[in-house]
């Protein structure tokens, strides 16, 4: 595992010494010995995540827009300079490859973040076009600054006025002596920013943010906290809530944007994108699955625990092992990840079910085990994001 450009700063803070591998990089799962306070920092103050392991690509040239509009399901021609778009992209069969954010930094200059290596896919799709695709994953460090105090904190560290930087907008600014790009994006569903930094400036920017952050109760946070907040935000995780069609040869493991609830980012009316025809056909016949958010009935779960003579136990970490979901004893889908939400005081999960069971308010039965005994617990289909504070967009 490689260290990220922030390793000299994150390592001494990582008291738990608990790391996982993320895209080949060493990534902290939690800094303290338990992640609770890192979770709460996202919802009450500011959490600082090292998200450098994301794959990042620069797309330049006169045909940059043409290439991206061909690859991404969203209408990239509508992406203004200084705007960021969240989009998926697919193969010819309309199966999802990946999702990520696209920032238009200049007229003919875009930055795309992805979960997986994507250079060849982008280059191959640009065959014959006047466009350069560059993998900048290693030459761009990134931090996510997320939480209700992140705006004030970032402003206290930035050299320009960021008060007018809207949701899903990008700008260039300075932090300390470093030039950085700031996007108002994140993976937490909260007010937050991502800061894109030259690796040589990484430690300096970290130091400035942590120093200023002391006045805003900043806390470095790891993937365990991130997992909880991204589920509350109803955001999908690749390899947990879906598998890239480039990573599996089995049809049953592939999925489509429509099945994943990403239909809103599929612009079927634009001239062309990879997978368009297949998705058109899928839309006509109706997707095989629908993504839903469910709220698990905690009282019913408590009653099951009581049968075992035990008090209710709620998971203090998010889970990401799929479990079956039933209606009337027949399996109708699966829940792919879930978490107890300390903020909502609700037990929520992301699931995929047959369309006839996806309506809001439908009741499903989700499999849970208590002392390794399989049981089902009622779960109600509810709207996602589960948690959607006004400050996210304000």
């Amino acid at each position: 595992m490689q260290p990220t450009p922030f390793h000299s700063r994150t390592a001494p803070l990582c008291v738990s010494n608990s790391w996982l591998e993320w895209a080949g990089y060493q990534s902290a799962t939690m800094y303290a010995l338990e992640h609770t306070h890192e979770y709460h920092a996202v919802r009450m103050a500011t959490a600082l995540f090292d998200v450098s392991p994301l794959y990042k690509f620069h797309i330049h040239g006169p045909d940059a827009m043409r290439l991206l509009d061909r690859v991404l399901t969203r209408d990239v021609t509508r992406c203004a300079v200084g705007q960021v778009m969240y989009s998926a992209w697919c193969d010819d069969a309309g199966h999802i490859i990946d999702d990520g954010t696209l920032a238009r930094l200049e007229d003919n200059f875009y930055r795309l973040t992805t979960a997986d290596p994507s250079l060849a896919w982008l280059q191959d799709n640009g065959y014959g076009m006047n466009v350069q695709v560059e993998d900048v994953s290693e030459s761009l460090a990134a931090l996510a600054l997320q939480g209700p105090t992140s705006r004030d904190l970032l402003q206290s560290a930035a050299t320009t006025n960021l008060s007018r930087l809207g949701y899903f907008r990008a700008t260039r600014t300075g932090i300390g002596n470093a030039r950085v790009t700031v996007t108002r994006t994140g993976y937490t569903g909260d007010l937050g920013y991502e800061v894109w930094i030259e690796p040589d400036d990484a430690e300096h920017v970290w130091d400035v943010l942590m120093d200023r952050g002391r006045s805003y109760a900043i806390k470095p946070a790891g993937t365990l906290a991130l997992e909880m907040v991204r589920i509350e935000a109803g955001l999908l995780l690749s390899e947990v809530d879906f598998i890239s069609c480039r990573k599996t040869i089995f049809e049953v493991q592939k999925s489509t944007p429509l099945e994943l609830g990403l239909g809103w980012m599929v612009h079927l009316d634009k001239p062309f994108f990879v997978g368009q025809q297949a998705i058109r056909e899928e839309k006509a016949r109706g997707p095989a699955w629908n993504a839903v958010g469910v709220e698990i009935d905690v009282l019913a779960l408590e009653a099951i625990y009581a049968e075992f003579g035990m008090p209710l136990h709620l998971p203090w970490e998010a889970w990401d092992t799929p479990v079956p979901v039933y209606v009337d004893g027949q399996q109708v889908g699966k829940a792919t990840s879930g978490t107890w939400s300390p903020t909502l005081k609700k037990y929520v999960a992301l699931a995929r079910v047959r369309p006839q069971h996806a309506a809001l308010g439908s009741t499903l039965d989700i499999e849970m085990t208590v002392e390794a005994v399989r049981r089902t617990v009622p779960a109600k289909v509810v709207k996602t994001p589960f948690f959607d504070p006004a400050r996210k967009r304000s």
Binding site: L33, T36, H37, M44, P311, P342, T343, K345
Partner: protein, 536 residues
Amino acid sequence: MSASISTTKSATRYDAIVIGGGHNGLTTAAYLAKAGRKVLVLERRHILGGAAVSEEVYPGFTFTVCSYVVSLLRPEVIRELELSKHGLQIVPLTGSFTPMENGDYLAFWPDDTDTREEIKRHSVRDADRYEEFNQLMFEMAYAVKPILGMVPPDLVSPSLRDLGTLRELARHIKGLGKRKFHYLHKIMTMSAADFLAEFFETDVMKAAMSINGIIGTMLGPCSPGTAYVLLHHFMGELDGAFTAWGSQKGGTGGVSEALASAARSYGAETRCSTPVKQVIVKNGRAVGVALESGEEIYSDVVVSGCDPKVTFLKLIDRKELPGDLVESIEKFKFRGSSGKVNLALDGLPDFTAAPDPSYVHEIGMVEIAPSLAFMEQAYDEAKYGGFSSRPYMDVVVPTAVDPSMAPPGKHVMSIFVQYANYELTNGNWEDERENFGDAVIDTLAEFAPNLKEMILHRQVLSPWDIEKEFALTAGNIFQGELTLDQLFFLRPAAGWAQYRTPIRNYYQCGSGTHPGGGITGGPGRLAALEILRGTS
């Protein structure tokens, strides 16, 4: 305008009027409104919340004026009133830090392994037994917990339902088995110090752990009965985890605001700066309230969230009540024992004993409880009508996790102080208040020397101030001590523990009823359910 107050009758008639907008009054109001009743909450002060209140006492700084942590808030109240939707947001305070007089410390870290290693520094044996002790307390809390959600049976004239409850209770106690029953008996009768001594040998360990046995009680750790108060505080619950303490966003006033918001969302009305003078009783039945302004408001039901003394002896003419009840209430022990000091700070003070000075603020509480002798001496000094010159303190800096309560880089510190006797033998609290504040700051500065230079503003509340400002008799934070003789079917008086009063349609819903004090919402909820049962 003439100076005399004329009586006006309010045109609007309510199904229920709740006197007192404290957290239990708001809970009752929310439940009643949710059930479709037309409810009005009347609060004496300019702000809702009672003792669960946050106020900007000093510009830019929000103080959690009285109560400061949450743990006993019943999960069913959170769920049934959807409090998260209304702003409830609690960060757990998972650790505590106790500096010692010799410069050493004892810490309970958020992580069990860490805590074990820490206790091992003091005693390997205690480290072993810590887990055993926690397990026992967990077991006892789990065993006793159902009682918290139960309407106490009336032993004076039991109804059919009461007999059912008693049978259930008997079965429950029988089901505990010999060992648990044995411990339950010990917990009910012993002092916290003696009970802890059965497990631990390290003095500071016993001191730090006895805290939960004395909070809000005019008893020292060596007084019998304190072991139960210890258990009471073990029944706190957060997200299914027992014994967890937490800090509400914006202070405990945030809990009250969430409850008020829930109540209003169901249609309840709230009026502040509206002190009630008396409950209007006609033919042994409550029919409304008379305000101090002279206004009269009528309703089918009147509920008092005030403490038993106010509920029975101030809001009602005592001739309306049976003599034995009046006597019981007069004898009900209040004995205010604690004060509160709130500070606006320029920075985070460093506790010199701490390995990481700022970390201790983030994880939880700092306990000034360096030894059992320190605690008991603090009690001794106050016992005969004074305040401790070196008091026990429970210190929380909410801004370490919730920066919204102070300007960037600044902090607020909440210091719960014990002991301060409501009854001063020499002098009065108006004169002694700041001397008491000085004793607090001086003692705390022994452990955090740079504290003094950081203080921007200081608010000192003696038990007398708490009584005056929050109408809590003798400044007792629990609306009456949580000793066994004042709990369950004896709270507030035998025969009157089911939220009713001898006056028809006049109910009680404050912490002076079962399950008692702390931000539980328990009395408020159970009272509402009884009212709905009685009037549906």
